[in-house]
């Protein structure tokens, strides 16, 4: 082992480290110099999150050996601010434009932009794209990042904080933005204490295999740094977990056999980060006996296929069904019927922050033994309950404090390192940290369900939809995870946002030896929309009706019944979305016609996709509780359990609570997501936080307001002002002061607490799927203009217009950010993303869109208020993604005449379809 003393200048200061000269600069910065603003997403130069300036030029710190930085000047995100600590013009432009969402790629983006701006003060768009091309972002769709970089030179002023009562609807800059821009935000791997033990999971290299563990003690004794090896025998409570209480079918550590590649069989705990990095598991004593794995739905349902779970004969986890009207009669009397089969693959969330966090033993106030986990998560309360289940202790002995979350998209709704960390801490009584590397993250984490779908659409010759038949088999992988949610949500949404008098929509979630398919932005609805929207296009063409007008003629409107028999009485904005798109659609069609006339190998195509999306859990209670506290000094604290995973709930909840109370937004501080200090706001999933937790925030604000008005004996329209130590209540020309100093305070130190609880009213679905699955639905339509190279089969999405009925845009900048990001993921689903276990376990074989793949996006926000929502608002997170793939695929079809029935539409698949058509024509 060699070390060398290396001197380098970091952010203007000379630093000296004694390290292995081959040590990655990223590790030197983060571990040796404590500069955790530089993020590590892949350790392979694929994501660019670790971009720093080395002698003024952007480099990946993960690809730079320390020796090569010797004598050099390094600038990291921590070095970007002005000398007095104020954000630089570049950072302020990011904040102004909403260019940071989760913030994990932001340091890399900022440094790449700093490199560019160091060379070119006023860059062009193309220069900006080239400069940012090496940094992946999974949240923003890049548009606001590029806009921010191009706007640095304007040095425009920071947007003012809204006055009391005007926060909702304002383009408030992200309240948690500064930490994402100066590198101070702490993510899962940024806050582990020195001296912690580190844990590495031993994973299966096989998709289905029996195994026998060898002499673990001997291996541990012979392996430097090993403190303990954990297996199923070390789990003190239940060696099982899973989303549904009755479906905890996944072991923390597999026993005797594994069901997917990447599954955890044991964990090795070592003393310190250096031992963790040096740990070589190649000699771990385990003997594998691989068996023929069930790859895909067909294999799992084949005659004689091995049954993966005792309770699921035929490997069917669950089925879903919605039936309404007389479908056979509808198809019998139809003038036109179109049908098709469609296929989608596993899709990876590809959050740029891999799973990371740490846990420690703590003592409760009564001396009881407790555990505290600080992890990256979308669902602190489910984490708490799952840890308690595995440890066999009461949930109140577990505290979850979410770290900042570097992207989730549904992938951090399942347990990852929480459970092995908990087992280790409980056994060893010391702080333990863990971090998945990118290949581990890809192999072990949940995925979007692959779908195999068959569907048929019936219409009369006037263009009225008469009926829809749909069946989708969803590959739920090795374990249940969110499979039941997908199987339940899909049949409800399958007919699309249209009046369809007769529907038979069924689904099945099928166990295979793939990775567990879980929650991923849309819970199966994006897959079902690919099938349904394709058939709408074919039907429109069959009937000679414009595709947009066909959708508009059949669009659900307020008061129409859905296939579940629910009448949505308000906030049904699809028609308004389509009408807003119409002029853009006609422009697109004209451009396509002109391109067609020009000929050549490049063709333009226009496509359209519509969607609806029920906000919140399907027919299940999913309450949120928010509390707003008033301190004796007149300051306000929102106890906000809705974890912000980049989408902006931290800002949205405060905007809503401020207006409900009648206080200025900048008066409100927050405690976020800590299960000891916030009430359960439910998961950040199902596009529910703005609608459900937003409503709870409104109610909490109104409750605190009512208490203050009562104390002042004032009427509803009184004006409040929060001053040092008192609240002034003005009403009818009188001002009453509520002195706070003497009032009794609770454990948090609050003298008054407003509380709000909202659980969206839903009803269970019967055997035919009849009932009220959701309290409200979001609606949207998107159009895409694409260029397809007929000779190469490549598709470039040039432009998109996205019209979304969000009820009320609480913060238009954040809503646009969700739309841009959803479109990026939808574009990836349509064109490039396919997870293949063992083959695409890195971010250069698993492709997500780069800045250069994104179209120019125009957002149109339709505000058809939802009476139940806070200030009329409903969700946007998942709706943003659902229509994109259908619009892109429809555009490819328009450009080429070929039906894309399998995504992603990789160039070789498009070419194969074009060749097949040519052969058929010959």
């Amino acid at each position: 082992m060699t070390t060398a003393t290396i001197t380098l200048t970091v952010n203007g200061a000379e630093r000296c480290v004694t390290v292995d000269p081959a040590r990655r600069l990223s590790r030197v910065l983060r571990d040796d110099l404590g500069l955790t603003g530089t993020k590590v997403g892949c350790d392979a130069g694929d994501c660019g999150a670790c971009t720093v300036l080395l002698d003024g030029a952007q480099v990946c710190a993960c690809l730079t050996p320390a020796a090569q930085a010797a004598g050099s000047t390094v600038v990291t995100v921590e070095g970007l601010a002005e000398p007095d600590g104020r954000l630089s013009a570049l950072q302020r432009a990011f904040q102004r434009h909403g260019a940071a969402q989760c913030g994990i790629c932001t340091p890399g983006m900022l440094m790449a932009a700093a490199d560019l701006l160091g060379r070119t003060a006023r860059p062009t768009r193309d220069q900006a794209m080239d400069a940012l091309g090496g940094v992946l972002c999974r949240c923003t769709g890049y548009q606001k990042i590029v806009e921010a970089v191009l706007d640095v030179g304007s040095n425009a002023p920071d947007p003012a904080m809204p006055a009391a009562g005007t926060a909702v609807g304002a383009r408030v800059a992200r309240l948690d933005g500064a930490g994402k821009l100066d590198g101070s935000e702490l993510y899962g791997d940024d806050q582990c204490p020195a001296g912690a033990l580190w844990l590495k999971v031993v994973r299966s290299p096989h998709a289905l295999a029996d195994f026998a563990l060898g002499d673990l003690d001997a291996w541990a004794a012979a392996t430097p740094g090993v403190v303990s090896v954990l297996t199923a025998a070390d789990v003190p409570g239940h060696n099982s977990f899973g989303i549904y209480p009755t479906l905890k079918d996944q072991p923390v550590f597999a026993e005797r056999f594994v069901r997917y590649r990447g599954e955890s069989v044991a964990a090795v705990v070592v003393d310190g980060r250096a031992a963790f990095e040096a740990l070589d598991l190649s000699g771990f004593p385990i003997e594998w006996s691989p068996r023929a794995a069930l790859v895909g739905i067909e294999a799992a349902q084949a005659e004689g296929a091995v049954q993966l779970h005792e309770a699921s004969p035929g490997n069917v986890l669950i089925r879903g069904r919605v039936a309404s009207g007389d479908v056979d009669a509808a198809f019998a009397r139809a003038d036109a019927v179109v049908e098709g089969s469609f296929e989608t693959p596993f899709v990876e969330h590809a959050y740029i922050e891999p799973e990371a966090g740490w846990a420690r033993p703590v003592e409760g106030p009564d001396g009881s033994r407790r555990i505290e986990l600080r992890v990256t998560t979308q669902t602190p309360y489910m984490d708490r309950d799952e840890v308690a289940h595995v440890l066999g202790i009461a949930p109140d002995r577990v505290r979850i404090v979410p770290s900042a979350v570097g992207g989730g998209f549904g992938g951090k709704l399942d347990q990852s390192l929480q459970l092995p960390l908990a087992v280790a801490v409980w056994k060893l009584g010391r702080p333990v940290a863990a971090l998945w590397n990118r290949p581990e993250s890809l192999a072990s984490s949940t995925k979007r369900h692959p779908a195999r779908m068959r569907a048929a659409l019936a219409a009369d010759r006037s263009g009225k939809i008469l009926g829809y038949r749909f069946h989708g088999d969803f590959d739920t992988g090795a374990y249940a995870s969110w499979g039941p949610t997908v199987a339940g949500r899909v049949p409800v949404h399958a007919p699309g946002p249209y009046r369809v008098p007769a529907v038979l929509a069924t689904s099945a979630a099928v166990y295979t030896d793939g990775p567990p398919a879980g929650a991923f932005r849309g819970f199966g609805v994006p897959q079902a929309a690919i099938a349904g929207e394709a058939l709408l296009d074919r039907m429109a063409d069959r009937l000679g009706i414009d595709r947009l007008e066909f959708r508009l003629a059949n669009a659900l409107r307020a008061g129409d019944p859905t296939a579940t028999g629910q009448r949505i009485e308000a906030s049904v904005g699809l028609a308004a979305c389509l009408e807003a798109l119409r002029p853009h659609w006609r422009d697109y069609l004209a451009l396509c016609e002109a391109a067609e006339a020009r000929g050549g190998s490049m063709r333009l195509g226009a496509g359209i996709g519509c969607m609806w999306y029920g906000c919140g859990n399907t027919s299940m209670s999913n309450p949120s509780i928010m509390r707003l506290g008033l301190k004796p000094d007149g300051s306000l604290v929102l106890y906000n359990g809705a974890v912000d995973i980049g989408q902006g709930s931290y800002t949205i909840m405060a905007q809503i609570a401020a207006d409900a109370l009648g206080a200025p937004l900048d008066r409100i501080a927050q405690v976020c997501g800590d299960t000891d200090r916030t009430a359960d706001a439910g998961k950040t999933s199902a596009s529910r936080q703005t609608f459900v937790s937003g409503k709870a925030s409104e109610l909490a604000g109104l409750d605190l307001r009512a208490q203050l008005l009562r104390l002042a004996n004032a009427g509803d329209d009184a004006e409040l002002s929060f001053e040092d130590g008192r609240v002034l209540v003005r009403h009818d020309g009188r001002t009453r002061a509520i002195e706070l100093a003497g009032m009794p305070a609770d454990a948090e130190g609050d003298v008054l607490v407003g509380s709000g609880t909202f659980d969206p009213p839903t009803e269970p679905l019967d055997a035919d799927g009849q009932g009220t699955p959701y309290a409200t639905y979001a609606f949207a339509a998107q159009i895409a203009l694409v260029a397809v190279d007929l000779e190469l089969g490549t598709t470039r999405v040039l432009k998109m217009v996205a019209a979304h009925d969000v009820g009320r845009a609480v913060n238009p900048t954040l809503v646009e950010g969700q739309i841009h990001g959803g479109i990026a993921q939808g574009l990836g689903l349509a064109l490039m993303e396919e997870y293949l276990p063992g083959r695409t376990e890195n971010l250069h074989d698993y492709l997500i869109p780069t800045v250069g793949d994104m179209p120019e996006i125009t957002c149109i926000l339709v505000e058809d208020a939802e009476p139940l929502g806070p200030y009329g608002a409903k969700g946007i997170g998942e709706p943003a993604l659902v229509p994109t793939a259908p619009a892109v695929l429809g555009a490819i079809r328009h450009a080429t005449g070929i039906d894309i029935t399998r995504v992603p539409a990789l160039p070789h698949r498009v070419r194969a379809a074009l060749r097949a058509r040519q052969r058929a024509a010959e």
Binding site: D43, L54, G133, G134, A278, H844, P907, H908
Partner: protein
């Protein structure tokens, strides 16, 4: 963690290499990605401090010498004849700017990936490599150096010190076309590079074409080149037949299937020739 040597004189580097084989490290852009999950215990020779491996210069005879540790960004920033436009275009397609700032021309060749962006462009420039050892210097044509997937003719005691482009290859125009499933940071499905010189009458006086990512190593299309000599440049694209690409041995992988690679290689060769014939500006 093994030994780490970063000599500042070529002779020292070669002496170390003669004593025992070492893993040679330059920009690290292929080295570190291969060591994500686990870092092997290996001894490293860092060649980035060797002045002999740096810089791009024209020789008296007009040839071009590219130091093996020249980064892609340095190459992009260097004023080079139009025949090198394809090489520069390839340089701009190597990863993102971060990779271009670190990755070296020599490292790209020594890593010998079938999808190495630099190889087809350098083949189309008739490049040679210069290998130094304590025994002296030897030169190999590039296609005699890159022998297969991750396989080169470098002996363990040798260092790749420079890439040489002969003066004769620096006339005319150069092009590079890359096909991938996304815009940036993408491993090529197919690459085509070409250079062409035209006679005053508009016929092809000289042409070199190479296809990458369609065989274990990038391949020159010598038969096609021979066919094109003396033919009108404007017709060159139309003279490409499938048989000219028969030597390619593309594979099926996650990026594309073999049939597609074969087909699009032909398309890109035609487009490359059409571009060269028209001498259209590099986009």
């Amino acid at each position: 963690m093994g030994a780490y040597t970063r000599p500042e004189r070529l002779e020292d580097a070669l002496t170390v290499l003669r004593a025992r084989p070492l893993t040679v490290l330059a920009g690290g852009t292929d080295h570190f990605p291969a060591r994500v999950a686990h870092t092997p215990d290996e001894d490293l020779l860092d060649v980035t401090a060797l002045p002999e491996l740096r810089g791009i210069r024209r020789e008296a005879g007009g040839g071009l010498v590219i130091g093996a540790a020249t980064t892609w960004s340095q190459l992009i920033a260097t004023d080079l004849p139009p025949a090198c436009d394809g090489l520069k275009a390839a340089a701009r397609e190597v990863g993102g700017v971060q990779i271009q700032n670190r990755g070296t021309v020599g490292g790209n060749l020594c890593n010998a990936s079938p999808a190495a962006d630099g190889v087809p462009a350098l083949l189309s420039l008739d490049a040679e490599v210069e290998l130094a050892s304590l025994d002296g210097v030897r030169r190999l044509p590039l296609d005699g150096f890159v022998l297969g997937n991750r396989k080169t003719a470098r002996r363990p005691d040798e260092l790749l010190t420079a890439i040489r482009i002969p003066a004769a290859a620096l006339d005319g125009a150069g092009r590079f076309l890359k096909l991938g499933a996304r815009r940036y940071l993408v491993i090529s499905i197919v690459m085509v590079a070409g250079t062409m010189t035209k006679a005053p009458d508009g016929t092809v006086a000289g042409v070199r074409l190479a296809v990458g990512a369609c065989s274990a190593t990038a391949l020159r299309l010598r038969e096609l080149e021979a066919t094109l000599i003396g033919r009108p440049a404007a017709q060159a694209a139309s003279l490409v037949a499938d048989s000219h690409l028969a030597g390619l041995q593309p594979i099926d992988d996650v990026r594309a299937d073999a049939a597609y690679r074969r087909e699009t290689a032909c398309v890109l060769v035609r487009r490359c020739l059409a571009d060269l014939a028209a001498d259209r500006a590099v986009p």
